[in-house]
């Protein structure tokens, strides 16, 4: 019998848990031998599970350039995520992957000025790409990051953003929160409006991830600035079980989001029926 079976996971150990926001934690995962579970590309996903609780798909938030471990930023919003949020360091989980197509960081993105636009936990999948671009800094032009959340307490990776990203040369971070808040002297307003206000030039490749409503209005804003669909990317979210394009639930048109996505360019999405 064929001994390779994609549906059988391997063991991972949670070695660090960072509390990012009131409902988002970032979990560091290695194998029992202390190795990174497997290699991946920016934008790819992995299945995490706790036997008896369930299995769910998460984007890998750490960059492939991190050779020591894998990180997942996870918002508490269902059975598996609630269980993970009560887990402690040293807890074993199961992990399998990587799944899906990555962002084209080594071809289409190479040499480009990059614009990342994220809302809330939508930063999680982009962090892998951002840190990849920062690592191979010479391969990319300017990097702009527009990131917004409900409040300053809901900003993911805040320490990394302030202490690392903001200090990089050629990296411009634009943070915003939805409403005025004590102790916040930064920008206030929704992400799509902020993107329009910032008025980016169209020499950039844009990557969006966030709530559907943010994506919709940010897209409108980018189009009005003169951006073409062929220079805007996103990563989709659908319910998944197998991760290998067989169980059927992430099927949209002739594509399976787990296998043919989750990364899509907006002109590619035009080919799909509007059901994601």
């Amino acid at each position: 019998m064929n001994n390779v079976e994609a549906l059988i996971p391997k063991i991972g150990v949670i070695t660090d848990i960072r509390i990012d926001t009131p409902d988002i934690k970032t979990f560091r995962v290695v194998t029992p031998d202390g190795e990174k579970p497997f290699e991946h590309r920016p934008g790819q996903c992995a299945m995490l599970s706790m036997p008896g609780v369930g299995e769910a798909m998460f984007s890998i938030t750490s960059s492939p350039t991190n050779t020591e471990y894998m990180e997942f930023s996870i918002k508490k919003c269902g059975c598996v995520t609630e269980w993970l949020h009560q887990a402690e360091v040293g807890q074993q989980v199961t992990v399998r992957g990587p799944y899906g197509n990555p962002f084209p960081v080594d071809d289409a993105f190479r040499g480009k000025n990059m614009l990342f636009v994220a809302g809330g936990v939508g930063l999680a999948p982009l962090r892998s790409v951002i840190n990849y671009c920062r690592h191979y800094r010479e391969n990319y032009g300017t990097i702009d990051i527009v990131y917004g959340s409900r409040s300053k307490d809901d900003l993911l990776d805040y320490r990394e953003i302030i202490e690392e990203w903001s200090k990089d040369e050629g990296v411009n971070v634009h943070l915003t929160i939805d409403r005025e808040q004590e102790g916040w002297d930064g920008h206030v307003g929704f992400v799509p409006n902020y993107v329009k206000e910032l008025g980016f030039s169209t020499d950039k490749t844009a990557i969006l991830c966030g709530p559907p409503i943010m994506i919709k209005f940010t897209l409108d804003g980018l189009y009005s600035l003169g951006f073409e669909k062929t220079q805007i990317y996103t990563t989709l979210e659908m319910r998944m079980k197998c991760g290998i394009g067989k169980c059927g639930r992430c099927n949209v048109g002739s594509k399976y989001i787990c296998k043919d996505g989750p990364v899509f360019r907006f002109d590619e999405l035009d080919e799909l029926p509007d059901e994601y």
């Binding site: 549906l7 369930g54 074993q92 199961t94 079980k241 197998c242 067989k246």
Partner: protein, 343 residues
């Protein structure tokens, strides 16, 4: 080609069952037929149109994938897979044989391979039987399937007094070799006559003129937004019966079961007709039964062909037509949305 008399059928089945588990359609008390393991005294049903398709021999309704033991913070993974013993499925209709091609494209031929399905395919011999008792709900011809000329490892034709056997694969030939003492060489005259008879019966079926016109790869833009989906799905109960009796439906769920001694992760058939099929914490991409209903037919008649060189993932077996509690079915959808009634 080999033949045996119907009188010797019991001996033939006994001989096959010596070497491998043998399954065939038998009559149920309610008049329907179901695949059952053969043993002495069990009679093969004349009714090949089983309520459930033989897909479950290769893709069972539920099956264990892997098991876990947990203690404290630790997890142990137990690979529970084992080699399937050889088995034979006798009495598979041409449409149901074709359905294995549809499933093979998903589980066997596209990486990563499904080791569970592959294991069963490697150990199963399929013996088809030419279908001379089609139901009013049958429309295999629509998909280019000839019930008089079924495929599989061995093809069998039944006449008033004899069974005719033809091996199509090495595995089939090896099995025929095992029953060589009980069969004799023959020409194809009786089979040719039987084929002609079946062709005549088929041409008289109510759905004989159903075509795939208007459907197939590349039709998404044209069909997806049709207003008729809302109308046709209105009465759909979302019961999922159509997907469970379907020989080609391949969607599955993966779930954990705590046995008290450990956790078994299993998969089971699932249905795109169910609301929680796509429900996420972040939202629901298919909000109403209209979207779910549309998904089932678009997948079979447009999306699947796009990914599989034009092959439709409906074989016209008619099970969903017969079993839908509201008498909605793929034939009506094909006529109304893609076909002539739409013009």
């Amino acid at each position: 080609m080999r033949k045996c008399s119907l009188d010797s059928l019991n001996a033939v089945f006994a001989k096959i069952a010596e070497a491998a588990e043998l399954y065939l359609p038998v009559n149920c008390t309610d008049g329907s037929a179901a695949f059952s393991k053969w043993e002495e005294g069990k009679e093969w049903s004349n009714n090949l149109n089983t309520v459930k398709s033989p897909k479950e021999f290769f893709f069972p309704q539920t099956e264990d994938l892997v098991a876990f033991k947990t203690s404290g913070k630790n997890i142990e993974i137990i690979d529970t897979r084992k080699e399937r013993e050889d088995f034979v499925v006798f009495g598979v209709r041409a449409c149901d044989v074709k359905a294995f091609e549809v499933l093979d494209n998903v589980f066997l031929l596209k990486e990563p391979y499904d080791s569970y399905y592959t294991n069963r395919r490697e150990h199963g011999v399929i013996i088809s039987v030419a279908c001379n008792r089609p139901a009013d709900t049958c429309f295999c011809k629509t998909f280019g399937i000839d019930p008089a000329d079924p495929q599989g490892d061995i093809s069998v034709w039944k006449t008033a007094d004899s069974l005719y056997w033809q091996a199509n694969t090495e595995r089939g030939a090896a099995l025929l070799e095992k029953i060589a003492d009980l069969t004799e060489d023959c020409d194809t005259a009786a089979v040719d006559a039987e084929k002609e008879k079946i062709t005549k019966i088929m041409s008289k079926l109510p759905l004989a003129n159903l075509t795939t016109e208007g459907w197939g790869a590349g039709k998404t833009q044209e069909l997806f937004d049709s207003p008729i989906w809302a109308e046709m799905s209105e009465a759909c109960l979302g019961c999922g019966t159509c997907t469970f009796v379907c020989p080609t439906c391949q969607c599955y769920d993966i779930k954990d079961f705590n046995t008290g001694k450990g956790v078994v992760r299993f998969r089971c058939w699932d249905s795109c007709m169910y609301s929680d099929f796509t429900k996420m914490s972040a939202g629901q991409p298919r909000l109403s039964q209209k979207e779910r209903f549309r998904q089932r037919f678009m997948h079979k008649l447009v999306y699947y062909p796009e990914n599989n060189n034009g092959l439709f993932s409906c074989v016209g077996c008619g099970r969903c037509v017969a079993k839908c509690p509201i008498s909605m079915n793929i034939a009506k959808v094909m006529k109304k949305i893609g076909g002539k009634e739409n013009e």
